[in-house]
C-alpha cells in the first residue's frame, strides 16, 4: 500500500472570480445568497457566500491530481460546512490518512479547509479506492 496512516497532504485553493463564475455558468445555481451582495448581507453575511460545492470541486482536484498516484477513484465522501466562504478567499486544505483497508485497496482521509483567519470553513471524510 502506497499510503500510510497519518500521511498528510496540504494545498492552498483560492476561490477566484474565474472559479466562481465558471461554477455558476456550469451549474446555474444563481440563488441570491451566492449572487446578490445585498441579499447576503441582509441575511447576516459579509458578502456573497460562495457555493459550498465549489469546495467539492477542490476535493476532486486533490484526489485526482495531487496524490502520488493517478489510479484512484472516489468511493464516498461527506462534508460539513462550518463557516461561510467569500469571493477571493484563500483556503488552506489539509488531508490526513486516517484508515487503510488493504483487503479492498481503500484509503480514508479526514480533511479540512481553513480560511485566512485559520477558521475551519468545512471538514469531512473521503474514501478512495486504489485501482489495480
Amino acid at each position: 500500500m502506497l499510503f500510510k496512516k497519518d500521511d498528510r497532504f496540504e494545498k492552498t485553493f483560492t476561490i477566484s472570480d474565474s472559479v466562481y463564475t465558471s461554477f455558476i455558468e456550469v451549474f446555474q445555481d444563481k440563488n441570491p445568497l451566492h449572487t446578490d451582495e445585498n441579499f447576503a448581507i441582509d441575511k447576516g453575511f459579509s458578502g456573497k457566500v460562495m457555493h459550498g460545492n465549489i469546495l467539492n470541486g477542490f476535493l476532486s482536484y486533490f484526489i485526482g491530481e495531487c496524490l502520488p498516484i493517478k489510479n484512484v477513484i472516489i468511493h464516498s465522501q461527506e462534508i460539513q460546512y462550518k463557516n461561510p466562504v467569500y469571493l477571493n478567499d484563500s483556503l488552506n486544505f489539509e488531508a490526513v490518512v486516517v484508515d487503510i483497508f488493504e483487503s479492498v485497496n481503500a484509503v480514508e482521509f479526514k480533511f479540512q479547509f481553513k480560511n485566512a483567519e485559520a477558521k475551519v470553513v468545512a471538514k469531512g471524510k473521503i474514501q478512495i479506492g486504489i485501482m489495480s
Partner: protein
C-alpha cells in the same frame, strides 16, 4: 461474540450500507441473493465490517468467501 450476534451485527451493517431495511441475512446468503450487493457495494460492506469489528481482512480472505457464513467464520477467526 456469539455467532448469532455476529450475524445480527452484519445484518445491521448491510441494512445501513445498502439502505434497505428488509434485508434478512442467513449464513447461506450470497451476493446473488441480495439486491444491490455488487462489487462496489462489496467494498463498502467490507470497510464497514472491518471498522465495526475492529479487524482487518486480507484480499485473499475476502475473495474466498462464498456466503455470509464464510464471512462470519473469518470474523470469528480474528
Amino acid at each position: 461474540m456469539e455467532r448469532t450476534e455476529v450475524l445480527k451485527n452484519i445484518n445491521t451493517i448491510f441494512i445501513e450500507v445498502l439502505d434497505e431495511e428488509n434485508i434478512k441475512l442467513t449464513e447461506n446468503t450470497s451476493a446473488a441473493d441480495v439486491d444491490g450487493w455488487d462489487s462496489l457495494t462489496h467494498i463498502q460492506l467490507v470497510v464497514s465490517v472491518e471498522k465495526f469489528f475492529k479487524i482487518r481482512f486480507t484480499s485473499k480472505e475476502i475473495q474466498s468467501w462464498k456466503n455470509v457464513g464464510e464471512m462470519m467464520d473469518c470474523i470469528k477467526s480474528k
